[in-house]
Symmetry: C2
Subunit: 413 residues, 2 copies
Amino acid sequence: MRVHVINTGTELLLGHVTNTHLSFLGDRLQGRGLRIAKQVSVPDGDAIREALLESAPQADLILVTGGLGPTSDDLTRDIVAELAQAPLEYNDEIQARIEERFRTRNLKITDRIRRQAQVPQGATILWNDWGTAPGLYLHGAPGSGPLAGKHVVLLPGPPRELRPMVDTYFMPLLEVIHPLPVTMTQRIFRIVGLGESAVEDKVGAHLEAIADLELGYCARMGEVDLRLIGPQEVVNNAALYVNEVLDTNIVTDTGESFEEVLVRLLTARGETLASAESCTGGLLANRITNVPGSSAIFLQGFVTYANSAKINSLGVPEQLLLDHGAVSEPVAAAMAEGARAASGSTYALATTGIAGPGGGTPEKPVGLVYIALAQPGFATLVERYVIPLDRETFKYAVTQRAFDLLRKRVVGI
Amino acid sequence: MRVHVINTGTELLLGHVTNTHLSFLGDRLQGRGLRIAKQVSVPDGDAIREALLESAPQADLILVTGGLGPTSDDLTRDIVAELAQAPLEYNDEIQARIEERFRTRNLKITDRIRRQAQVPQGATILWNDWGTAPGLYLHGAPGSGPLAGKHVVLLPGPPRELRPMVDTYFMPLLEVIHPLPVTMTQRIFRIVGLGESAVEDKVGAHLEAIADLELGYCARMGEVDLRLIGPQEVVNNAALYVNEVLDTNIVTDTGESFEEVLVRLLTARGETLASAESCTGGLLANRITNVPGSSAIFLQGFVTYANSAKINSLGVPEQLLLDHGAVSEPVAAAMAEGARAASGSTYALATTGIAGPGGGTPEKPVGLVYIALAQPGFATLVERYVIPLDRETFKYAVTQRAFDLLRKRVVGI
């Protein structure tokens, strides 16, 4: 089954808005053994028609996102109805549900809202329990039109509506229209401490010689992803080899995020974590607390931008700040130790650095950072890096290195 | 000048990886009065050829991202050289730069790396000062091949290489190949407190009647973006109307983020902020500290997951936690007041809620949250919401509401 995704929305092409649908849909389809062959973003309006006409001969399943809302630039429903030769009809149940939703939220219903109760003749409704516009599924448009015999799924643009709708209503539908067993499997290794070409140097030649194995490399911030795709047994054997060669450089091969790995490791050990962040400004705590269940291991985070905060909340000696400056090895160590003492955690991570763009000096340039890990029974560990990147990337790169410092200490490597 | 973007990379279509290139490139081109007419994502390999052949007749400028690296799945350079009928040649200066980069970083250079020193005959090199593979610009491939006369730009896949390369080397090049003055302008209003259809109800009819004005609506998490595009004077006049009608619901119309607006407002007033986060887990501090210069206004953040942290670091009375629970109005207020007292800030925001998926009860369901704002001379303000969304969306939605609580108080509306 060949799958295309069409993302509609002028905002996607004008900047500012990031398309998160593709990675979500790719993940869900992958779980059913399907891959997206092509994805297209087009503005609202007539370009939707052209994109559908272009994809129809190449694809069996076309997922269209966006353009189902109440405003005048929402045209997906109308265009698909036209191409599928399936006239729009009012649906009383949709209308009733929308009215109920507005009533409970005390919102005034407008005429524009009613457009969302229109359904192309014969389409299946994917209910929207998270917003107003329902999704729609058309299969086998009648006649000889361009969408004849194609599976076409229309999904709402807002991710918080699209995602649960896909999981609740589209995935069960997909089991019906694509009932094949999953024969291909995927394994992704998250690798740290090695560059992309070093990873290929170590494992590439061996893996390339394995029949039916598809290989992929992806250099990400502070990690390289190595992807193996193929029949279950082939991937399992290749994975044994990768595990043996890359060993401690592998953070995980289960698709978990770095922070999920840490929460799982600490939970299993009954250990806890605290953080003291200067330059990362809360990102470290935020990433950890994105993991459900992290409250069991994450006791407390301090975001101590001001020196007075470092002194008062973490007990960093004022003299240390005067002698070495806030961005220094002894202050990083004192921050980590202070966070441990204040929270009573097993481990504490601290970051202090110069995120930029301002604030750098010849001795302490933008990108300089100290990362510290405090732990009972061990001397506090401090690592120094210079990571001269833009502010947000710098923050992320620093948390990656802090996580790896913790990971290695926790698993004892 | 018609612009297409082709993003290559199997990982983009398999899930997990989000394509951030499109929003970045859309923004940069927009600044030069150009719009992306279409964007396509395809896997590594032959699909790149097909995408180029499909775009060539429709576009004047084609931006291709990814596939320039050292690994065996990096084929963009080869395919473009073939389609442009411009044989690959080794470039000594690229080779020397790569070797220098590896030397200073103490990395071993491998044979694979040398592929990145290949340049299609006649192409302009866009130097990569942030990684190894340079970008390439081809204009007017010779002969009558499919790329004849087209502007084709090849950019590296990693965002931290692509972004500075675009700003440093591609944008000046674009001024040469597209020297037209910017005649169209764009204005985006970030609107809070109103739904998408309510926004259109208030301003839609009036704005739709304005000639040469293009309108767009985009519902985002906790805000609606209203986009006006057209000639400078038309947009300016329409913006006056929007400002008058939507008034205090407008956070900004300058393209600033919500956090940038807050940092600017507080900096101008010489006021400061602290945060005490439970359910948002550091996201609030992280968003604020993403803004360059935020250290001038953000004194300190507390991420107090554990009750002991709320008691010890914020001075929340233990009895309050016993009587009302951590997720309650009085605890939210005590957290905000405690953060203010500990940090000496002008304002303090606090969040306490149940992010889920676990931890909900009939009286305190998943999604329940209290947001508090403490400020000298005013009673502490506490708002209660129920936002039953997935964990990360919940965290973001809560910070949006917290930011708006602060914004309204700061500007006195």
